[in-house]
Amino acid sequence: MIRILMRCVMALVVAVAVMGTHSANAGDPLGVGFVYFSPVGDTGWTAEHDKGRLEMEAALGAKVKAKIVENVAYGPDALRVIRQLAADGHKLIYTTSFGFMDQTLEVAGLYPDIKFMHLDGYKSAENMGTYSLRYYEPSYLAGMVAGATTKSDTIGYVSSFPLPAVLQIINGFALGAQAMNPDVKIKVIEVNSWYDPGREREATDALFAQGVDIVAHVTDSSAPTLSAQRTGKLVIGFHSDRSKFGPDSQLTAVIPVWGEFYTRVTKTVLDGSWTNAPIWDPMSAGVLAIAPIGKMVPEDIAAKVMKRQAEITAGTFHPFQGPIKDQAGTVRVKDGETIPDADLYSMNWYVQGVEATLPE
């Protein structure tokens, strides 16, 4: 009995030793871990991250070996999963939700030789960087499409929470719409959730009933698209190109292109040039796009949008370029100036033409 036990222990020790040397070999692929808060699925937030992960693997081939952990709950579960990925020898770990911030920071403190990248957060460390995308840029372009298409001069927005990141998107959209049609008003309904298809549908239907003919959203399900398709109205998709659910209703969609991003950042870890400098990537980095503009949009309008897209990526146009007034009429960005990043980062106001109330 004791001999069997001894043998088991020996085997374990050997196995661990082998694994230890294994992960230390220089020619081995870089282990890259991805932590998702929801299942991967077909469309939406996590689906797009995983598409990016696959593209990164395809681009870097044998140099990387990625592992995903999906449906990770915030809190202790996240801590356990991130720590396990680190203990398993992954040298770069992406945590793809704001809710993983504190757990990522905690594990980063335990594993100084592992690089951590946390999405949309504000805490970092020597070996932990943050990353975000400037969604307001494609949102401005989507707003242009909607502003030129609307016949009711009123566009609806299904919002989630009044956070700066969300306000940037809605304001960018409103400015884009007003650039094509100065009379456009935006009605906003908050559903107090990132992800509740039932409420997203109710809010979308409520907006249509109030006479808007286009609804855009900052939530993650396809319910607004399906609602527009059902009622013969129009919609701007978010997070994914949802045109297969709304072939007659989707004007365009605001989408991230994570493959580009993950390939680039993973490369910096491979060649040792990685830094913890916060990343806030614009469209010009190839990480954001709008979905192909729907066939219901006249070609000259689509051409105008594409021209503006080229100006944004070239850096000759900024969506938040003055003069911009808030709802009260106060000038927030002066004529001839563009908004500083710090003001975008802490945005707590709506531009003129958005008909909604923010909490005090």
């Binding site: 449906n71 039932g198 399900s221």
Partner: protein, 307 residues
């Protein structure tokens, strides 16, 4: 005319939003009237939602999807019945476990479908009849399961108040020992009541995933199962009051979205709270007569029956 259209929209949206609550709450009401408190409604709804979605996506048949969801809810409730009725496990603990279990099972069943959607046909409704002004949209443009829910409401009311079998069920819920002494099969009645509860929860879940949104995402019932349970209690175990509560909850939800859209300057967090607060306050007020409540509360609710 625009105003009339607007109110018709609110009425139709309210009826639709109330449907899953009404279905699940009617099932739970029958189960509780037989003396069994099943807190697993949320789990059973989720399993119904994912099963219904999977069958609808596979077979393209909505009727088959609803039947499968009903069956799935009933099967899950049978498990609950076996544990609490035959093994006499604690009903509260088992019900909570059933919700957790159902959440996991539904995620497993729906794992291939996360984030996908069913194709939507045009607006729901019965051809020609739904074009009658005012009455048409109100009476003939609803989702099929909404009609089903109202049919079940009438059925449950008649069953409990007018039928002999309903009397048996209430006897089992109020005084199982006496019912047993009278030769009634308490366990069989409770099993059937629990299964009815599971079937209705399954139908409520399928309504959300197959008709209402129609998408499958994990946890998509978003607490509606718990609201259904609360409705039954606050409605003092009366089917008509359950309808009232479900309509009130659905109606306030829809109206608070409208108020946001009109932008009256009321904080959205307050508006989001309104459906819950209004439903509880109103139902507590109308059910505040303690003696009358005592009469309709199933006397043996939550108490296992030992032969």
């Amino acid at each position: 005319m625009a105003e009339a259209d607007f109110f018709i929209f609110i009425a139709v949206a309210t009826l639709t939003a109330a449907t899953p609550l009404l279905l699940a709450a009617l099932g739970e009401l029958v189960s509780e009237r037989s003396g069994v408190l099943n807190l697993g409604v949320e789990g059973m709804m989720l399993v119904g939602a994912s099963t219904g979605f999977a069958v609808a996506a596979g077979s393209q048949s909505l009727a088959l999807a609803v039947l499968a969801a009903i069956a799935a809810g009933a099967v899950l409730s049978l498990l609950f019945g076996f544990l609490t009725l035959t093994c006499m496990a604690n009903q509260v603990a088992t019900g909570l476990a059933l919700t957790i279990f159902g959440t996991g099972v539904s995620a497993y069943i729906g794992s291939g479908y996360t984030g996908s959607a069913l194709e939507v046909a045009g607006p729901a409704g019965i051809a020609y009849l739904s074009e009658i002004p005012v009455l048409g949209p109100l009476m003939f443009s609803l989702e099929p399961l909404t009609y089903f829910a109202f049919l079940m409401l009438a059925g449950v009311w008649w069953f409990l108040q007018r039928s002999r079998a309903g009397l048996t069920l209430r006897a089992v819920g109020d005084a199982p020992e006496a019912a047993h002494a009278n030769g009634l099969n308490v366990l069989r009645v409770r099993y059937l009541a629990v299964m009815f509860g599971g079937a209705m929860a399954g139908a409520g879940g399928a309504f959300l995933s197959v008709f209402y949104t129609p998408v499958w995402v994990e946890n998509m019932t978003a607490g509606r199962g718990w609201i259904a349970i609360a409705l039954v209690v606050f409605a003092a175990w009366k089917p008509t009051r359950v309808l009232f509560g479900a309509l009130l909850f659905g109606g306030v939800t829809i109206v608070q979205f409208q108020v946001q859209g009109i932008n009256l300057g009321i904080p959205t967090q307050f508006l989001s709270m309104l459906p819950y607060a209004a439903t509880i306050v109103v139902l507590v007020v109308i059910s505040s007569d303690r003696i009358k409540i005592g009469l309709s509360t199933p006397a043996s609710l939550g108490v296992p029956f030992r032969r």
